[in-house]
Every structure is written in structure tokens, then in C-alpha cells.
């Protein structure tokens, strides 16, 4: 198993608040890693540090063998990011949003660019009738799908998802989970997702990373469920988590 993202001795401190205290994390090739943690445990800070959007207090981060430096161009071509609210460019249509990274990174003919962008929209489960709409005209779920299409535009090897199913109804959330699994299986993607959707955690994540006490506890779902840590016990002990676990067991037996 080789690690595509390596975080070593990461420290993030804001004033008196120590968010990450010598955190070590590996994300392996072709896995779906779910990242969970209570609010204020630094899920977003960790993601932003990996993406080079935030300067960690100390520590090293390597993505695909490349050292990540704050505000330095990272391996842009190799990763795609689905931001929580979509972060689509509001002045551009859906089609233009997806085409923009392609246009900036390739000199391919215009027609091929249109086709590839449309392809990514279709792959993200969108209908091409939305192509000429502006982000403000779309529903939240559709915006996420467009954002996913944009994240896939440059054929990334790693996909970062920030709460992909938050704010979606259960049907849309389940479909989104299926879409992520499908993309993962077909595109040989490594996926790191921040999520609080217990169904996603049980259903599609290969391993779970739990941010607690400034560090991280990583393992498969079964390992995590055996953990003695009080926060983890509470997290997976609440009724909705138990139901999700039941549902996942049911699927496994079926």
C-alpha cells in the first residue's frame, strides 16, 4: 500500500488554541478515507493545509511525492476539490465553469473541450440542459454536481470532498454516495472526504480518520467501532449512527 498523501507532525495553532498537535496521517492509493471530528477539531484546517491554502504552524505534507508549500502551486493537475458550497464561479455558466480548467491547462480544440466538459457533467449525473444556466439558478444539489464535474475536469488522481452530502435530501445523498463509489471504482481515484453523514461513513468509506485531541485515530470501520475513545463511542453510539450501522450490515448480508 503506498501513500499518496502523507502528513507528518502537523501542528496548527491559533492563538492559545492548539488544533493539531503533531498529527500524522497517510492516505493510501485507491481508498476512500472518511474524515470526521467534532466541530473545532480542525477538519477544514487539515484539508486546507493539505491543499496549500493555509500555512500550518509546523509539519510537512506531501501529496504524490510533492511537498506542499503554502500558496505555492501544488499538484493542481492531480487533484480535484469539491468545496462545501460548490464554490462555482458565479459569472460563468455551468459549462464554462467546467471548461475553464480545461482551457487553462490544454490547447485542445474548442470542440473537444466542449465535449469533455459535457462528458464530465454527464458523469456527475447532470442533464445537459443545465449547461447554459448560471450557478445562481441551480439548486444546492445540482451545484454540488457541477462542482464535482469541475473537480473531475482535469482527470485528477485524488479527489477531496468537503461534506459532499450535507444539505442534500436522503435520496439525493444516497445517489451522491453511489456516484462517488462509481467514480472511485471506474477512475482509480483516491478520495478523501470530510463527512458527517453516517450512511456515507458506513456505506462507502474504506477507512475512517477521526480527529480527536489534536491527533487522529485511523482505521477501518470495525477498528474504529472497537475504539475506547469516549468521543468516538458517543459519535457511533447515537441512534442515527446505530441505524446506519444496521443498514450497512443489512446490505452486507443481502
Amino acid at each position: 500500500m503506498n501513500s499518496v498523501i502523507t502528513v507528518r507532525k502537523l501542528v496548527n495553532r491559533f492563538g492559545d488554541q492548539l488544533v493539531h498537535d503533531n498529527l500524522d496521517l497517510d492516505v493510501y492509493r485507491d481508498e476512500i478515507l472518511g474524515l470526521v471530528g467534532g466541530s473545532g477539531t480542525g477538519k477544514s484546517v487539515l484539508l486546507r493545509s493539505i491543499l496549500g491554502l493555509q500555512k500550518p504552524t509546523s509539519g510537512t505534507i506531501t501529496v504524490l511525492g510533492r511537498r506542499i508549500e503554502y500558496q505555492q502551486p501544488g499538484p493542481t493537475r492531480c487533484w480535484g476539490v469539491l468545496f462545501q458550497a460548490g464554490a462555482l464561479l458565479s459569472d460563468l455558466t455551468v459549462q464554462q465553469n467546467v471548461e475553464l480548467p480545461i482551457a487553462l491547462h490544454s490547447d485542445m480544440p474548442l470542440e473537444t473541450r466542449h465535449e469533455l466538459a459535457s462528458l464530465k457533467l454527464l458523469m456527475s449525473g447532470l442533464d445537459l440542459s443545465v449547461a447554459d444556466k448560471y450557478p445562481a439558478e441551480l439548486s444546492g444539489g445540482m451545484r454540488k454536481r457541477v462542482s464535482l464535474a469541475r473537480a473531475l475536469a482535469l482527470e485528477p488522481k485524488i479527489l477531496f470532498l468537503d461534506e459532499p452530502t450535507a444539505g442534500l435530501d436522503p435520496i439525493a445523498a444516497t445517489e451522491f454516495d453511489e456516484l462517488i463509489t462509481w467514480l472511485h471504482d471506474n477512475l482509480e481515484l483516491t478520495i478523501m472526504m470530510i463527512t458527517h453523514d453516517v450512511d456515507s461513513l458506513f456505506g462507502i468509506c474504506d477507512r475512517i480518520a477521526v480527529l480527536v485531541d489534536g491527533g487522529v485515530i485511523v482505521g477501518t470501520m470495525n477498528e474504529i467501532l472497537k475504539s475506547e475513545h469516549p468521543w468516538i463511542r458517543r459519535y457511533f453510539g447515537v441512534p442515527r449512527a446505530l441505524r446506519a450501522r444496521q443498514a450497512a450490515l443489512g446490505r452486507a448480508h443481502a
Partner: protein
């Protein structure tokens, strides 16, 4: 990036496919990395597969090293085109992942149907369109101004502690913080006025009238006008941008839902704040303009300090000062209303925010100057 021509081109195509022509069939050996980075070359290479009439086309993919969606699309697209042209095509030896799933998700026809939207769909008649837009704008503006004035009236009638606090904050942001820059520019303009006029007046031996010219023009016009233009640039843009971003973040909607009137919460403090701070800035501007004039008069025109003061007292009376000052609240009202209005009109996009902010500043300054012309006419007619 270096594009190779001639022999190099041949080599490049060879990297991705080689064609063997056999009787009744065309064998295409697909090789190398069919990935996003090479799409342009792949397109060219794929377009080079031109079978003879009625030939079978076989794509042999055993030599394929790497492939991603983009590369798979180019290959798939070419096979589809060839099939559509009536050729029998076959893909052999391809690894399951890419092309297989392409085939079952893609309605290739749907993709090709996509056409770049016309950037600007032609208006039937530009003149008619422009008039219609103008009419609509005027109507909308009158309606908005009416709505805002009504909530201003409401707010003033029932002032709350919150409102008082916000107004004080706005006076600080738009007035107090602007004092240094307003003082500096009016001081400099005072100097410029004095220098420019002293040269001319000297020819008539009327150099001492420099003082009259500077003091009257600064008090009646320049002080308030420069302060207003500076405030339009500083605070007009700030108002529009603040309200615009709040609109984009749905903060304004949130206020509405919470039963708070955004007009009262956001617009009134800004309007009142500016109405208070612009007259204050005008006082500073007048003083600084006079000081600039005095500096030149004393320093280079040979007028003594005492003479300067005496001349100012003689040539200008209080009405000149009031004429200038009376315009300040009106200008402030124009700047604040136009800018907040533009901000609140932002609906969807970042580009719109920029446009509205620009509009806020441009229209504020435009209206200030129009109003000033109106005032000049009015005061002259009134004999003030």
C-alpha cells in the same frame, strides 16, 4: 511549448497510433499514453484514421500504456464517427475500465448537440431596446428611492439605540477616517488655485484678489465638491460592496426572514451617517483649502498674513460659507442613497457586484455634479 513540424509531427502521431492498411481492412495499432495532456495530438492522430470505402477498421489497443477519460473519449468518439459513416469498427484488446463505461453512460449524440451559446442574442432594435431599458431603470429607481425614503422616515421617527450606534460607527468610518485625505487634497487644491490665479491677476496689478478668488471658490464650491467626490469614491464604493456581498451571502434575506427591515438596518445608518459626516468634512476641507491659499499668498505672492485674514473677512461673508455647507447634506444623501441602492440590487454574481460598485461611484459623482450645477443656478438667481 514547442510545436514540432515536419518529421516531428510524424513521430508524434506514431507515438499514439500506427496504421497498417490491408485489403478490405484497416488495422490501427493504438499505443502510448492516451491522456488529457496529449488530447490535441490524439485528436490529430485519430483524425488521420481514414479508411478506404467499405473497409473494416480494427483498433488494436494492446500497446496502450495509459488512458484516462479524455483519451478514452477521443478514441471512442472516432470509432463512433466511423460507425456513423458506415464503417464496421471494432475495438480490440482494450482494458475493461475506460471505454466500457464510456459506452454505457454516454449519449454521444447529446454531447455533440451542445453548442456554445450566443454571447449576445441580438436585440431586435437597439434604439428601441435602449429606450425600454432606460424607462425600466427610471421606473425601478423611482420605486426604490420611494421605498427607501419611506423607511428612512420611519427610522428617523422611531430611532432605536441600535440605529444610534450604527450611525456613530458610520460617521467614524465615512467621516473621521476620511479627514486626513480630504484635508490633504483640498490643501493642495488651495495651493493650485492660488498659484494659477496669481499669475493671471498679477497682469492687472490685482494680485491681492488672489485671496478673494481662493476663499470664495473654496468656500462656495471646491471644499464641498472635493469632499463629496472623495467620499463618493471612498464610502460610495464601500456601501455598494458591503451590501452587495451581504446580498450574495443571503444575509439580507436572513434579515428579512428574522423580521428585520434591511432598509432600516443597513441603509438608514449609512445615509444618516454620511449626512452627518460630509458637512463635517466640508468644514475641514474649507479650512484646508484656505490654508493652502494662504501658504501661496504669504509665501510667494507677497501678501502678509494679516492682509490675508483681512481680505478674507472683507470679501467673503457668512453666506458664502453657508452656501457651500448647505450643499453637503444633499450630496451626502445622493451618494448614500445611490450607493446603498446599487449594493442591494446585486443578485447573483461576483461580476455583478463589481458592476454595481462601479455604478455606485460613477452615478454618485455624476449626481453630485448635476446637483451642484443646479445649486449654482439657484443660488445665483436667489442672489445669495
Amino acid at each position: 511549448m514547442v510545436l514540432m513540424h515536419g518529421r516531428g509531427d510524424e513521430d508524434m502521431s506514431d507515438r499514439f497510433l500506427s496504421i497498417e492498411s490491408q485489403p478490405g481492412q484497416l488495422l490501427v495499432n493504438v499505443s502510448g499514453c492516451w491522456v488529457f495532456d496529449h488530447v490535441s495530438e490524439l485528436e490529430r492522430a485519430a483524425a488521420g484514421v481514414q479508411p478506404a470505402e467499405g473497409a473494416r477498421v480494427t483498433f488494436q489497443c494492446r500497446g496502450l500504456e495509459d488512458m484516462d477519460i479524455a483519451g478514452a473519449w477521443v478514441l471512442y468518439d472516432r470509432t463512433q464517427q466511423l460507425s456513423a459513416d458506415g464503417f464496421k469498427t471494432e475495438l480490440k484488446g482494450i482494458k475493461a475500465v475506460h471505454v466500457k463505461f464510456l459506452q454505457h453512460i454516454i449519449d454521444a449524440a447529446a454531447i455533440r448537440q451542445y453548442q456554445q451559446p450566443e454571447q449576445h442574442t441580438g436585440r431586435p432594435n437597439p434604439v428601441y431596446g435602449a429606450i425600454a431599458t432606460l424607462g425600466r431603470n427610471v421606473a425601478v429607481r423611482i420605486e426604490d428611492v420611494g421605498r427607501i425614503s419611506r423607511s428612512i422616515a420611519d427610522g428617523v421617527r422611531r430611532p432605536s439605540l441600535y440605529l444610534v450606534g450604527e450611525v456613530i460607527k458610520q460617521v467614524y468610518l465615512t467621516g473621521v477616517q476620511a479627514i486626513p485625505v480630504v484635508v490633504v487634497i483640498t490643501f493642495l487644491i488651495g495651493i493650485v488655485l492660488a498659484y494659477q490665479s496669481s499669475g493671471q491677476l498679477e497682469q492687472f496689478g490685482a494680485k491681492v484678489f488672489v485671496v478673494d478668488l481662493v476663499s470664495i471658490s473654496v468656500m462656495r464650491e471646491m471644499g464641498v465638491l472635493l469632499a463629496a467626490v472623495m467620499v463618493a469614491g471612498r464610502s460610495g464604493s464601500a456601501f455598494a460592496a458591503e451590501l452587495g456581498v451581504m446580498q450574495l451571502n443571503e444575509e439580507v434575506d436572513a434579515m428579512r426572514v428574522l423580521g428585520l427591515n434591511p432598509n432600516q438596518m443597513l441603509i438608514i445608518p449609512r445615509v444618516l451617517g454620511l449626512v452627518i459626516s460630509l458637512p463635517i468634512l466640508t468644514l475641514f476641507a474649507d479650512a484646508a483649502g484656505l490654508a493652502g491659499g494662504a501658504l501661496v499668498a504669504v509665501g510667494s505672492a507677497g501678501i502678509s498674513g494679516l492682509q490675508f485674514v483681512e481680505r478674507v473677512a472683507h470679501s467673503t461673508d457668512l453666506s458664502d460659507f453657508y452656501v457651500g455647507l448647505s450643499k453637503a447634506p444633499v450630496f451626502a444623501l445622493l451618494i448614500a442613497t445611490v450607493s446603498t441602492l446599487r449594493g442591494i440590487q446585486v443578485r447573483a454574481s461576483a461580476e455583478e457586484l463589481g458592476q454595481r460598485t462601479t455604478m455606485a461611484v460613477v452615478q454618485s459623482i455624476f449626481l453630485i455634479i448635476v446637483a451642484d450645477a443646479f445649486f449654482a443656478t439657484m443660488f445665483t438667481r436667489m442672489g445669495v
